[in-house]
């Protein structure tokens, strides 16, 4: 049975590789789309997804880690902190298209950021936060309590203890959560649909207030919105997105296993 779960994953990857590999070339990765996207490359979508991932990281990583530190190291059990925890758990279960609508309402319209990298990054950040907060909190809690007690008994303040011992030990786990969260953000279509993604742009975005093309949305567009689309370009785009996400996954796995091997507790 366990082997059976591997089959669809491996089959998908092999199929995408087999179908998409012929389309991928240096030109495909470094050129703009031509002929109504039926030819040329996907450079603006690759760059756009990079921008969105970085933008999401800028907002969600510091905020998520700070929230996790508060919940793990400072918060006492009160109705307020219990509400915060329940909110985080529920936030993780909200469908991504709902985040998209929320982002449209708050960032695009109310805050007047327009359809932009900024609005899309903020929307993706809200979606990513629960993942980052809960994995980071778990990693912080896994650090043995005795380290904190010893550190305090040696004249450290609580913050010095967190900075020098707890965060250092929890860092691999936190990074893993961050990467998994950002990976999800990189692959999502719905949250950026109304907040920052563009159908086609003739040039790369020049500021955070510009809209951008992005890999998952581009894949959606060329698969459903463009008639007579060559199939290799679709699979080529899927392959690039898959490699992008799998690479992040691989980095997370390497960090995790190296940390486990070097762990001193």
């Amino acid at each position: 049975m366990a082997v059976a779960t591997v089959i669809p994953i491996v089959a998908t990857v092999i199929y995408i590789f087999a179908q998409g590999f012929p389309a991928v070339s240096l030109e495909f990765l470094s050129d703009f789309p031509h002929d109504g996207m039926r030819a040329g490359g996907i450079l603006p979508a690759i760059i756009g997804t990079l921008y969105l991932t970085i933008g999401t990281a800028i907002f969600s990583v510091p905020l998520g880690i700070a929230a996790a530190i508060y919940l793990s190291e400072y918060a006492v059990d009160t109705p307020l902190t219990r509400t915060i925890r329940i909110a985080i758990i529920n936030l993780a279960g909200i469908p991504s298209v709902v985040y998209g609508l929320f982002g449209l309402g708050l960032f695009v319209l109310f805050l007047k950021f327009g359809t932009s990298i900024l609005a899309a990054s903020l929307t993706l950040s809200i979606m990513t936060l629960p993942v980052i907060i809960s994995t980071a909190e778990e990693s912080l809690r896994a650090v043995p309590q005795a380290f904190r007690t010893v550190s305090i008994s040696l004249g450290a303040t609580r913050w010095q203890t967190i900075r020098r011992i707890v965060l250092k030990e929890a860092l691999p786990g936190i990074l893993t959560g961050v990467i998994l969260g950002l990976e999800r953000a990189a692959g999502e279509t719905a949250p950026i649909l109304f907040t920052g993604a563009a159908f086609f742009l003739p040039r790369l975005p020049g500021s955070p207030f510009d809209a951008t093309m992005a890999l998952p949305y581009h894949l959606f567009v060329i698969s459903t919105q463009v008639p007579e689309m060559p199939i290799q370009i679709q699979y080529g785009t899927a392959l690039v997105l898959l490699v992008f996400v799998l690479t992040m996954n691989l980095i997370a796995t390497v960090i995790r296993s190296r940390a486990r091997a070097g762990r001193q507790w």
Binding site: S151, G155, I165, K168, Q264
Partner: protein
């Protein structure tokens, strides 16, 4: 004899209602080993953790009384607890080495105290390891991870780590409970040397260890200080029936 610590009518309850100490008064003499012993749940560890305010980390509902160290009430909310903890070092029952090298374990507290000079730090490493009788065993591998040491060595490293801060008082909470007899012997031998320089309060892991190490001994039973005397006197001619019953093994 100079009284380094004066405990006056100390009472303490945890927030779940368990009473930990009841009206305890005790004078701890300078540069001697004072042993706090008795069955589990007697309040010995709680008392230790009051002395360096480590109880601040747990939920304590009510406390009354005073603890004067060099005449200053350390239970006063205005007390600088960081300075207090540098002055009152602590070694725990389970050796907890921090996840870093042997050297970094020893310099951790000093660096937090603002010491950056390499020569001073190296000096403190050597001095404290010698005091804890560990120098010869680790001097060639100071940059190895501390976790690679044996249990007995780890516990002496923990002792050295608190000594590196040059405290005046050292609290030891069952420091040998997880150690073999040879390692225990090394720790006890180190205490004999250390009491020339430091005021030591020890919660021993057995009555026998209490008898071996005590210059002064205090017997605690369920939050009460039953009897306090010079070690020799208390273990040979206890005044209280309950003390006698415990040290002769009639209960415990």
């Amino acid at each position: 004899m100079v009284d380094k610590i004066v405990i006056e009518n100390l009472s303490l309850q945890y927030s779940d209602g368990t009473e930990s100490l009841r009206d305890v008064s005790l004078n701890v003499h300078e540069k001697a080993v004072t042993v706090l012993f008795g069955p589990a749940g007697g309040g010995k560890s709680t008392l230790l953790r009051c002395l360096n305010r480590l109880n601040d980390l747990t939920e304590v509902r009510a406390s009354a009384g005073r603890i004067l160290i060099d005449g200053e009430n350390v239970l006063d909310p205005k007390t600088d607890v960081i300075a207090l903890r540098r002055k009152v070092g602590m070694v725990f029952a389970r050796p907890v080495v921090l996840p870093m090298s042997i050297r970094e374990n020893l310099t951790y507290g000093l660096e937090l105290a603002g010491e950056t000079r390499r020569s001073k730090l190296d000096e403190a490493v050597e001095r404290s390891l010698k005091l804890a009788a560990l120098w010869d065993e680790v001097k060639d591998r100071l940059d190895d991870p501390a976790i690679a040491l044996s249990g007995g060595q780890q516990q002496r490293l923990c002792l050295a780590r608190s000594l590196a801060l040059q405290p005046e008082i050292i609290l030891l909470d069952e420091p040998t409970s997880g150690l073999d007899p040879i390692s225990t012997g090394k720790v006890e031998a180190a205490l004999v040397e250390l009491k020339k320089e430091f005021t030591i309060i020890l919660v021993p892991h057995s009555v026998q260890q209490a008898g071996r190490t005590a210059d002064y001994a205090a017997f605690f039973l369920q939050g009460d200080l039953v009897e306090y005397n010079e070690g020799k006197a208390l273990f040979t001619t206890p005044k209280e029936k309950r003390t006698e019953d415990y040290i002769t093994g009639r209960f415990g």
